[in-house]
């Protein structure tokens, strides 16, 4: 009965022409939708371009690295082997010593310090903003955080040299060299803090209200709700923030070039108070000078680039694994 009523109401025939129906026959044949097809093609193109670019970068890096491995010394010996590259601790291109560890160690050290600063502070700030702050406070602080994330890194580099290093020297005395990985790492931590805070805050705020109410409704305290429900549910987003943070730290060049030091220096145990050169710092310094195309120095830079690429790739895979393993997907 209701169906009939609806029929009477809708069958004014006014929209028949728009639906391309004939008076006595509906037309539900498949139609050409050129605009939809165009948009789909455009999006596909965007996807293909980004994938091709990545593939292109990998090919260039791989190719140059291959040339690097094949280089010979003037005596006709192989200049470097993969084993030497990965397992020795001296990087001296002049003496055909290409062990990545001094550079890699410096990269790991600065990144480690940076994450040590940025993760707890960033996550803390995110939890405060999303769970404790009033709306006004959040609406003021969040944009400020995002502005901080946009400060050019060279500014942070000078901040390290003119503020952090003198501060550390004032505290630590002569043990602290003018160039040191600690200062660079600390400032790098400050640099990535807003990114981690902002991304984690997004992940935390995205946890549905219903889930929080379920927890509070059971008589959970705020801290219990945050630690047992909200953080697990937001884990994959927080991990993503962490990975972006680490990737930025590993790839950061300006701060380390200015504050960490300008010469490879392998220390065991790691000494954070002396200068050392990171992978990126080295690439920046060497490629800044006059470098002849296809020289061994030139090729070696690409092998370093490939190493950085593989490193961040592994990191991404690891986080994906952790996230799939432990996260509590809420939808």
């Amino acid at each position: 009965m209701t169906a009939q009523v609806q029929q009477v109401q809708t069958k004014t025939g006014r929209l028949t022409a728009y639906k391309q129906d004939a008076a006595d026959q509906i037309n539900i044949n498949r139609r050409a939708r050129p605009f939809d097809d165009f948009i789909r093609a455009l999006l596909l193109l965007a996807g293909i371009v980004s994938i091709l670019t990545t593939i292109g970068i990998v090919i260039v890096l791989g190719n140059e690295t291959l040339l690097f491995i094949q280089q010979l010394t003037p005596e006709g010996e192989p200049a470097v082997t993969i084993g030497e590259f990965l397992a020795t601790t001296e990087w001296q291109p002049v003496g055909y010593k290409f062990g990545i560890w001094p550079l890699l160690e410096a990269t790991l050290m600065t990144s480690f310090v940076a994450i040590l600063v940025a993760l707890p502070l960033g996550l803390g700030a995110a939890i405060y903003l999303s769970e404790y702050a009033t709306r006004q406070v959040r609406d003021t602080l969040k944009p400020i955080l995002e502005i901080l994330a946009g400060i050019p890194t060279v500014v942070y580099g000078y901040f390290a040299v003119t503020f952090m290093t003198p501060l550390l020297q004032a505290i630590g005395g002569d043990a602290v060299q003018f160039y040191n990985t600690l200062s660079a790492g600390l400032v790098m931590g400050i640099m990535i803090l807003p990114t981690i805070a902002s991304m984690s805050e997004d992940a935390l705020s995205a946890v549905p209200r219903l889930l929080r109410e379920a927890s509070y409704g059971m008589g959970a305290t705020k801290f219990e709700t945050i630690s047992k429900v909200i953080l697990p549910a937001a884990l994959s987003g927080i991990l993503a923030a962490l990975i972006v943070g680490i990737s930025r730290a590993v790839g950061e060049t300006m701060i380390v070039a200015l504050a960490a030091g300008a010469g490879p220096n392998f220390t065991l145990p790691p000494n954070f108070l002396v200068g050392a050169e990171t992978i990126t710092g080295h690439i920046a310094r060497i490629s800044g000078g006059d470098l002849s195309y296809n020289s061994i120095d030139y090729n070696s830079l690409f092998s370093l680039g490939l190493a950085l690429f593989v490193f961040t790739l592994l990191l991404n895979m690891l986080s994906r694994y952790i996230s799939n393993r432990f996260r509590e997907a809420y939808q």
Partner: protein, 276 residues
């Protein structure tokens, strides 16, 4: 069976006494001057048109409105002689005794076991044997045990059907053995069979718990509840074209009486579907 106690004049124990309750959201009055008792080991139904403040009053009973910025409650809500809104009352402790089942099932993205054990663990239960027992008991009481007994330790609460999720949420609530269970349209997302299961469940639970249920379904109110509170909307024109709307308690009576011999015309109109 409904309202027999009232008719025979046996004294009823009150679980919660709502007295002159007003709720504001920011400046806006949402519910004005609600007074009624929530009787112990009875089911009280809240009915009324959309937006009349049923959920608002319900959430006021275990201080869930505290979570909404700007929400404010006036009046007294007495529970064991204490005003729930007195400054020295801890809302966390209130919610451990007055539990809530929400309109939309909201399982944690954890295993069924961890969902049910969540509340007891909050209370400090650590013994695995005891948790096992609580989980099994609660799932049985919520009439969902048979459907999940094989995989409740590993299966995610989200992997259940909507009706199963809702029964699991009820199990989760009764696992902490609250005094009072507040249910906000617990069956609105469910099919008739799941609804019937939950209604039967409520009738069983009421032997041990006090239940308040918000429902839009008149039949459901008559089927399950002992007492019914009918809320209605009052309007006042503030300036031309603008009006204030707030909810009031229009009538409260034993369910059978309210539906068969409503005292007010607006109640009669609403329950016979002539509203608005």
């Amino acid at each position: 069976m409904v309202a027999t106690a009232m008719q025979t004049g046996v004294a009823q124990t009150t679980a919660i006494e709502i007295s002159h309750m007003k709720v504001y959201y920011g400046e806006k009055l949402a519910v004005d001057d609600v007074s009624l008792p929530i009787l112990k080991n009875k089911i009280t139904a809240f009915i009324g048109p959309s937006g009349c403040g049923k959920s608002t009053v319900l959430r006021g009973l275990n201080r869930m409105n505290d979570l909404i910025p700007g929400a404010r409650v006036e009046g007294e809500i007495l529970y064991h002689g204490r005003n729930l809104y007195a400054p020295n009352v801890d809302p966390v402790e209130v919610r451990r005794r007055i539990g809530m089942v929400f309109q939309k099932p909201n399982p944690f993205p954890k295993s069924i076991y961890d969902n049910i054990a969540y509340g007891p663990r909050l209370l400090g239960v650590k013994s695995k044997a005891m948790l096992d027992e609580i989980v099994e008991m609660s799932l049985k009481q919520a009439a969902i045990w048979d459907e999940v007994k094989n995989d409740f330790r590993t299966k995610s609460g989200l992997a259940l059907s909507g009706g199963q999720q809702q029964r699991m949420c009820i199990a989760r609530t009764i696992a902490v053995e609250p005094d009072v269970i507040l249910m906000d349209e617990p069956c609105s997302a469910l099919d008739p069979i799941a609804t019937q299961k939950i209604e039967e469940l409520m009738r069983e639970l009421v032997a041990n718990f006090t239940i308040v249920i918000v429902t839009h379904n008149m039949q459901q109110a008559t089927r399950v509840s002992d007492y019914t509170a009918f809320y209605s909307i009052r309007k006042q024109e503030t300036e031309v074209g603008k009006e204030n709307r707030w909810g009031v308690l229009a009538e409260y009576a034993p369910t059978q009486q309210l539906f068969e011999r409503p005292a007010k015309q607006e109640t009669a109109d609403y329950i016979s579907g002539r509203f608005g």
